[in-house]
Symmetry: C2
Subunit: 320 residues, 2 copies
């Protein structure tokens, strides 16, 4: 069994409160006593029980981070950035994956409540209402979703979509397929909003879709059949699925159809053709989310980060 504060107290003949102070308020204890306590603690391998401590202090120095799908390469850079930032603030980050299931998401949030000081909610699939209710029990920072009065880190998807559409327009594309993501995805809505407002385009919507390679693969045939010469995909995974699906039908990218994704993930950079994509500021977002959570006295601060179009090999001039 691990040594407790009592064991240490007994071992060096002081009261537990003295041991406690040795760790959490060293200046209140006599240097001589302090070193005796430290020696005993070291000897017994004592570590304060963080859960027990949190019970009285109300602070765990942990934060939760919930993502919809950890296998989506978009998230790991964000997660790592958040972990690194948190570490610098003496915090630890616990990550969990919802499998794109709102019920699991709720369950996870409830589990995190009281075990962390706050939760970073990345691309949540829960309804706004539910998120607001759960926010009564644990502070949130939401990433990729706008919820009134709640601190949020947003990526400027609209701007990115605009860049992408302009790029396609310049290449002579007019009929463009829009392959969206899951229902309730804020990103999807943003994309569609911008596209709908852009004049002079002939848009075809496809959705909802799984935000994965499989999702792209599944709609490839429909997209090919709709007569579009270019596709704007929900994310790079979907785009990769599309490219693969199109290749299977002997439709060349970008020769016959141009494809643009979102996120700028590793497999997109390694793919042939290398994917043209709208790069998301995932690293900055992870950092920012942590900071927002820690100063969340600032209440509903919203940060919007810019995106950038990265033109690579999957887009080309429209064939008429």
């Amino acid at each position: 069994m691990a040594a407790t504060i009592k064991d240490v107290a007994r071992a060096c003949g002081v009261h537990v409160s003295t041991v406690s102070r040795t760790f959490s308020a060293p200046h209140l204890v006599n240097p001589a006593t302090r070193s005796r306590v430290l020696a005993a603690a070291d000897d017994l391998g004592y570590r304060p029980n963080r859960a027990a401590r949190a019970l009285t202090t109300g602070r765990t120095f942990n934060m939760g981070l919930i993502v919809a799908d950890i296998a989506n390469p978009f998230f790991p850079p964000l997660i790592k950035a958040a972990q690194a930032q948190a570490r610098g603030r003496d915090y630890h980050v616990f990550v969990a994956d919802t499998d794109e299931d709102p019920r699991v998401e709720e369950e996870l949030i409830r589990t995190f409540t009281k075990q962390v000081d706050g939760v970073l909610l990345c691309s949540p699939r829960l309804s706004n209402k539910m998120i607001e209710r759960l926010a009564e029990d644990v502070p949130f920072v939401v990433v990729n979703r706008r919820i009134k009065g709640m601190p949020a880190v947003l990526m400027n998807v609209a701007q990115g979509a605009k860049l992408a559409l302009e790029h396609l327009a310049e290449l002579g594309h007019r009929r463009i397929a829009l392959v969206s993501g899951p229902i309730g995805s804020w990103t999807s809505n943003e994309m569609q909003g911008v596209a709908a407002e852009t004049p002079g385009l002939d848009l075809v919507f496809f959705g909802p879709n799984q935000p994965t390679e499989g999702g792209g693969l599944a709609v490839a045939a429909d997209v090919a059949a709709c007569g579009a010469t270019a596709v704007l995909a929900y994310n790079d995974l979907v785009a990769l699925g599309l490219v693969e699906g199109l290749a299977a039908m002997d439709i060349g990218v970008p020769d016959q159809i141009s494809v643009i994704g979102f996120d700028d993930i590793l497999p997109g950079r390694l793919n042939r053709p290398k994917l043209t994509t709208v790069a998301m500021p995932a690293v900055a977002a992870g950092r920012m989310a942590v900071d927002l959570l820690l100063q969340s006295g600032g209440e509903g601060a919203t940060v919007t980060l810019d995106t950038a179009l990265i033109v690579r090999e999957s887009t080309g001039r429209a064939q008429r």
Copy 2:
């Protein structure tokens, strides 16, 4: 503030112990009382504080999962499998990433201690001695590492390496480069062990390397210069880096050099050429690790899972 057990007790005029039993031992409380308590609890939005509960019961129903690098596509399938399996057992999994840094790894384990019932340690970078010490404070299951007396899930790397080398031998390769991973990686050692024992091969070792695309990219030139006609890489990421580095020097894969990776990750399947690789049973490993942890009355049970060679496009006949 969130409602506590006292609030509920007061609200329906019973003792806290009755409320407690309503949740943790319902059969001990009168159905009439029970429903009153449940009504009050629901009304106040009461949820038992899991951390507080763990203090007395000693069980959190959480488990920790520590990986060296969450951005490595090898891990997500394992993580998801573990989470799914745990969910079926009423457990939750908290994931953390060590950034390949043993100090961070130790820190994380200490943080998890007492906040989880056990830790799944995937491809740890800590020394055996340190792991054994830490195991006194929290139960472990180790994945991809053999430590005496400690439950472990191993993947049969040796067998996979053997298959890979045989495959290369059949294709006529004799001088083969072995690009290993980080120091302290059990997988690396296994690979080297098998390679060294296989007769009739002319091996060149390169290592240690970062287990990432960058690591592969960095040694590509050396590998090309050493005169090998084939490479066995630590994992698919390294293999992809190698392919990319070789391509930059106008060395074709598999025409001039054959490349085999380990893991069978998504980017490898999407790459051109599609990567020949030794598939690791990551999903089965995640599941198994969870089960091992939960029945870890079984002490040091060791499970070894088989690997399989998947021949795709990055290997070909040796040019002499």
